[in-house]
């Protein structure tokens, strides 16, 4: 497997320890921690997972192993940040996603956090003074969903908010 990051329609903003990506195609914002950012930046289709692991360790300055890189690849793929079909994570000995993500949440070290960029009209005020008609939802209102805690991921494989 030689993963390829999807970079078209995406712009990146570097923060001290993270990278924030805006995906113009899907109107989503992703926050990648140092490891995930290094994996995404270096997934150019020329490196195997082992090679990526070495590059990630050198570039991120954070300890990385094959399992962590595979985990990052899986999360990046789920977030729509990898080219379709370039990531196949099915290796014996890899912890289940539930197990791995559970550990990361406990350690406060989720790799990718995602939100959906709301359309401006979704910000319409819904709180008229008492006694008045509430303005109905605007036509293109994004249905409200409970927010996941920022920087955390749910410890299940259920569909993510994004």
């Amino acid at each position: 497997m030689k993963p390829v990051a999807r970079k078209s329609g995406i712009f990146a903003e570097n923060l001290p320890e993270e990278v924030v990506l805006y995906d113009k195609t899907h109107d989503k914002v992703h926050c990648l921690n140092k490891t995930a950012a290094a994996v995404w930046e270096n997934s150019d289709g020329s490196k195997t997972v082992d090679e990526l692991t070495r590059v990630v360790e050198a570039k991120s300055g954070a300890p990385a192993d094959r399992k962590l890189v595979l985990q990052a690849l899986e999360e990046l793929e789920e977030a729509g940040l990898m080219e379709a079909g370039s990531v196949v994570v099915a290796e014996a000995g890899l912890p289940s996603r539930r197990e791995a993500v559970g550990k990361m949440v406990m350690a406060g070290s989720a790799l990718v956090a995602t939100i959906v960029a709301a359309a401006p009209k979704a910000h319409a005020s819904q709180d008229p003074p008492k006694g008045l008609d509430p303005p109905p939802l605007p036509p293109h209102h994004d249905p409200p969903e409970p927010l996941p805690p920022f920087g955390h991921k749910p410890p299940t494989r259920g569909k993510r908010k994004s």
Partner: protein
Amino acid sequence: MLSFFAYGVKLELRIPDALLSQLAWPIVPGAEFADEGQADAVLRVQERQSGEGETRYEIVENGTVLSAVCSLEAATYAVESWAQLTVATLAKELVFVHAGVVGWKDRAVVVPGRSLSGKSTLVLSLVERGARYYSDEYAIFDSEGRVHPYWRLPKLRVASDQKVASSLLGGTLSGAPPKPIPLGWVLINRYEADSRWHPRRLSYGGTLLGLLDNTVPLRCRPEQSVKVLARAVKNAQGFEGMRGEAADFAEQVLASL
């Protein structure tokens, strides 16, 4: 018809005279009357009679009905809300984030949240405890990442709270608005009865996501929104946690900053 400029946006309102006379000026803080002519956006209000003789007011932009209400009072509220949101969306030099804002130790405390999240009540509680009022609706960020005031009276849903807001801030708001200040703290909170504010510290990225999740022009101008807010959070601290009642939260927050 009424045209005005606010935050660099020219907005035209085509509304019935009965409704126009109900609108409190300025409709958008800092708005100035403008001459007729090409506007950035036009809000129109159409009156329709129902079969039962009721008047229905439809607020329309570019042929799309944004709201439809059945009283003049509700229509007034809706026009004001849509006018403010339209300006927040189109203001090109600034990034509007749905949030309450107070000044504390010369830095901005920003509490992001959409409608019904209790922003106005939280802001009022913070002001009652010594923080400086900036906004109960939008945190406005300039290209340097500084936070500007949105200089209007907080809007509270309970009449008694509205009276408190008026008596607390009525005098202040008649004066000049405070200067823009750097972002100091971003407080992502969710109400849960009997909770105490024991937040966890957010990374810069987590803080930025908390702001972007409430950023009005994010889809229209994503690069500008992300860059401006990233600049702002680099010198700020973000926290996330559950909170109890507004008064307790305000007390706990100001004691901890």
